[in-house]
Structures are given as C-alpha cells and as structure tokens.
Symmetry: C2
C-alpha cells in the first residue's frame, strides 16, 4: 500500500511528534532505534520531511529533529504520504492507465475510485497529534 520509505516516514514523524510534545528533541539514531528502521535510509527520508516543512532539523551537537508543538495537530497523514510517495495513490489509475478519468475509465474505475476516496479521506482526517497520543497512552506501537 505504502512504500517502505513512507512507512518509515510516518513512524518517524509520529515519534518526533511524541517527543516534541514532551519538549524533547530526538536524534536520528534514536528515531531509527525506536521505529526499528535502517538508520541511513531513515536519514534520507527525514531530509524529505524537513524539506517539506513537516519536521525541523537542527544541525550540530545537541541537534536532531523536532516539530513545533503548535503544528503537531495540524499535520495530516496525507501531507506525509504526499511528501514521500507523491500523489499517485490519490489520483493514479488502479490498473495503470495513464490517467484515471471518468471519461475513459478502466474496468475497475468506479469500484476502485470509491475505495481510494475512502483512503484519501482517512489520510486527510488523521493528524499526527492523535497518532502520537495513541503511542503515549500505550494503545498502539511503533514496532514489532
């Protein structure tokens, strides 16, 4: 469904949000350990998140990643997915036609488009804050 990069990106963002909520800045090493992801690969993904203004990266000793507290609740899952995987999941044809359209639909268009719309709505209506709270409360987990 999502690429590995996107999975790591989502988990990393959640973890950073959680820590930022508690006023802590986290290092790459910490992130990778907590979400169980390859460190160097995760670094690339964090660069993308930083370039897309989803997380802030601070260089130098005592540096790391953080998200401004007031932004946490306003970052939707959709924004992260879009930053990493692009928008093909929202607008691409399920059977790989050049372009998904009502005028020239593939055989599964109508059925597929509604599921895709569900997914889109879900991603747009879910924000980092609620996801981070789930981790904090022990209701959900980032690994294993």
């Amino acid at each position: 469904m999502f690429s590995k990069a996107c999975e790591y990106g989502i988990k990393a963002a959640i973890f950073i949000a959680l820590k930022s909520y508690q006023g802590e800045r986290v290092s790459l090493k910490d992130i990778a350990a907590k979400i169980d992801s390859p460190e160097a690969f995760t670094a690339k993904i964090l660069q993308k998140l930083a370039k897309n203004d989803i997380v802030d990266s601070i260089k130098g000793a005592a540096g790391g990643f953080e998200i401004e507290k007031h932004k946490i609740a306003s970052i939707q899952l959709a924004k992260i997915v879009d930053a990493i995987d692009g928008d093909s999941i929202y607008i691409g044809c399920g059977l790989g036609l050049n372009k998904c359209s009502e005028d020239h639909p593939c055989p599964v268009h109508h059925k597929f488009a509604s599921v895709r719309e569900e997914l889109k709505k879900m991603l747009e209506s879910t924000n980092l804050e609620e996801l981070a709270l789930g981790i904090k409360s022990g209701a959900s987990y980032l690994k294993t």
Copy 2:
C-alpha cells in the same frame, strides 16, 4: 496499490473472459497488444493465472488462453490479486509491523484496517463477468 504484474494480470483476465464469452480463444500476442503490456512479462503472469486455475492455457498451434464460460461469473477480482500479489494487501500492517493485530496495533491500525476491509470487500464482490461486460459495452477501457 497493486503491482504492475497484478495490473497486467487483471486486465489480461478481463480480456480473456471477454473473448471466451464470445467463444474465442486468445493468444499471448493478442492479449499483450490489447492490454498494452510487455509480451514476455505477460506470459509469466498468465502462467501464474493458469497454475491458479483462473485461466486455461492450451499449448500448440491454435492454442492460447481461455476461461470456461460457466466460470467467468464466479471468478472474483480477489482471486486474481491473491494469485499474483498474495494476501499481504489483506492481512499486512499498513506501517509494516510484522503482523497486523488488534492486540498490538500500529498507530494507524483502526483507521487503516477499515479502509483495507473496504478494499477487500470490493475485490471479493467484483467478478470477471461484470468487468468484461463493461469493456464489451464500451463503458470502460483496457488501455491508454
């Protein structure tokens, strides 16, 4: 969402169903041309569909692929997807945890699982016959 292999597989199955409905057997070359897919790669996928008893393959001159008419309406999209991509799309965790479960859910589990369930229902409730009829009636297209 689906792999390329799966996309080709679905389109191929629809085309074969359409022709079988009209009592015609189709060759690999024909299929690849009509669904706009690489021929040799499509051959591999058809072998998988044949091994999974979704299509029948007939060797030799005047050979090709077909689906028994009476089976067309009973072949669900889910069966094709499962044959080619496996069941990870149904049972895998959206964030890549080893195992999706209620007991140890990832942060998006509840939201994701319901979309996934929608997808599953869609795939299970859609059969080759209706898809083929869409093509036959000109309501949908297999390429461009």
